[in-house]
């Protein structure tokens, strides 16, 4: 057994152990901490299988921002935990669920052990047009050029999810600020919220910029920026904005709007919807990515902040 394979085996065992702990933990808070650890370990797995772009996204969104949302929920729902314990399903249902889950796992394991040969790949097809786009990172090329419609629709999904969260607010709070006001206290959290954002903003912008040639891009950069914003809001250094503010609404739609505008321009100057004119592909892609990053950061931050819970001030 080589050293590399031993490392992989250890990492896989650790991921499984943390996953079992997350499912089995008695307290919801402990389970969420387990889930955040699970996400960070998964990010390491993604690095090991040569998918650094995914590793960045998993660490920032799958583990970080999702963890923040779940921890806040676990803290609020703590009073209901003992009540819910009585609703645990009986032995029969648990065994049936166990058998079903084991069957699903076994089926997937068979697919993994006996894969199709040769392995299908769209890699060569993705590589053909990289030079014409002047983009060095094939994953960014797929996201913003080849499958741009997916990315555009995904922004719409994010916006719809945010509208869904906002619509859960009682009528009298509509237009107000999300969450309760937190007062900044001197402590580790406040210190971190002062130290990390300057670094985090630089890292976020760098990850966005480098996305054209190396792992990185709009999602990853936007998620890092959002994480910094969430940190500042949780520490109470800056209050969440009222959702009726003009600049909030503007930032929410500017990304998809610019993307759509560029897409429709493609009808006139190139071959159709969302196709880029020869020679201008890279500047257009960078411009779209910059506005998308802003929109992603604001949407992720506001999704984490939750529905408005205070009355509108003006």
């Amino acid at each position: 057994m080589t050293v590399d394979l031993a490392l992989d085996a250890g990492l896989a065992a650790l991921v499984l152990a943390v996953a079992v702990w997350t499912i089995a933990a008695r307290a919801a808070f402990a389970a969420v901490v387990g889930f955040v650890t699970y996400g960070l370990l998964l990010a390491l797995v993604w690095v090991r299988i040569a998918a650094v772009d995914v590793a960045l996204t998993e660490a920032a969104i799958g583990s970080g921002v999702t963890g923040a949302v779940l921890i806040a929920a676990a803290a609020r729902l703590r009073p209901t935990e003992t009540l819910s314990a009585a609703e645990r399903p009986g032995r029969g249902l648990r065994i049936a669920a166990g058998v079903l889950s084991a069957l699903v796992s076994a089926g997937l394991a068979v697919l993994v052990l006996y894969p199709s040969n040769p392995a299908p790949s769209l890699g060569p097809a993705a590589a053909v047009h990289l030079a014409a786009l002047d983009i060095g990172n094939p994953v960014t090329a797929v996201l913003i050029a080849y499958r741009a419609v997916d990315t555009l629709l995904e922004k719409v999904v994010l916006l719809l999810a945010l509208l869904g969260v906002w619509s859960l607010a009682p009528d009298r709070f509509w237009g107000g600020a999300p969450g309760q006001r937190r007062d900044a206290r001197d402590g580790t959290l406040t210190l971190l919220a002062r130290l990390l954002p300057p670094l985090g903003i630089v890292v976020g912008v760098y990850v966005l910029w480098v996305g054209a040639v190396a792992p990185g891009g709009a999602f990853q950069g936007g998620a890092i920026l959002a994480a910094m914003w969430i940190l500042v809001m949780i520490a109470g250094l800056h209050d969440a904005p009222e959702i009726s503010r003009r600049w909030v609404r503007f930032l929410l739609v500017v990304g998809p709007a610019v993307f759509l505008a560029v897409g429709f321009t493609g009808f006139v100057v190139a071959n159709g919807f969302l196709s880029y004119p020869a020679g201008f592909a890279k500047p257009l892609i960078i411009a779209v990515e910059v506005v998308l990053t802003l929109t992603i950061a604001v949407i992720l931050g506001l999704l984490a902040a939750g529905p408005p819970e205070r009355e509108r001030r003006q």
């Binding site: 969104i61 769209l122 999904v157």
Partner: protein, 115 residues
């Protein structure tokens, strides 16, 4: 055994674990958490497919990777919406349960007339 097979089996086990947790745990918030764990396993299976499709100059097939990146973002937005729904349920009923016969909170403080 190669690293891809190893992580593939790990991903298959994660899907099973997440499925089990989301069926068996009675608390909605824990179901959401288990479902995210399941999602992590599904994404990892995509990663294995991408890794097997590695070609010259690329460590992995970029198309499944791009799909997973989109998937992670969509999974987060669905999670945020689901968590907001559970919290709203808790606010209006003071319980967070999926039992149909759970008594609603008596009307009065905090409960909205429009809820």
């Amino acid at each position: 055994m190669t690293a891809e097979t190893l992580y593939g089996l790990c991903a298959a086990a994660l899907v099973g674990l997440g499925l089990f947790g989301s069926i068996v745990d009675p608390q909605p918030a824990r179901k959401i958490l288990s479902f995210n764990l399941l999602g992590g396993g599904v994404f990892l299976l995509f990663g294995i497919i991408a890794r097997r499709g590695a070609t010259a100059g690329m460590g992995a097939d970029p198309v499944p990777q791009a799909m997973v990146i989109t998937g992670i973002v969509v999974a987060f937005s669905a999670t945020a919406l689901a968590v907001a729904l559970v919290l709203r349920l808790f606010e209006t009923t003071e319980r967070a349960t999926l039992q149909p016969d759970a008594p609603p909170r008596p009307s009065g403080d905090g409960a909205d007339p429009d809820a």
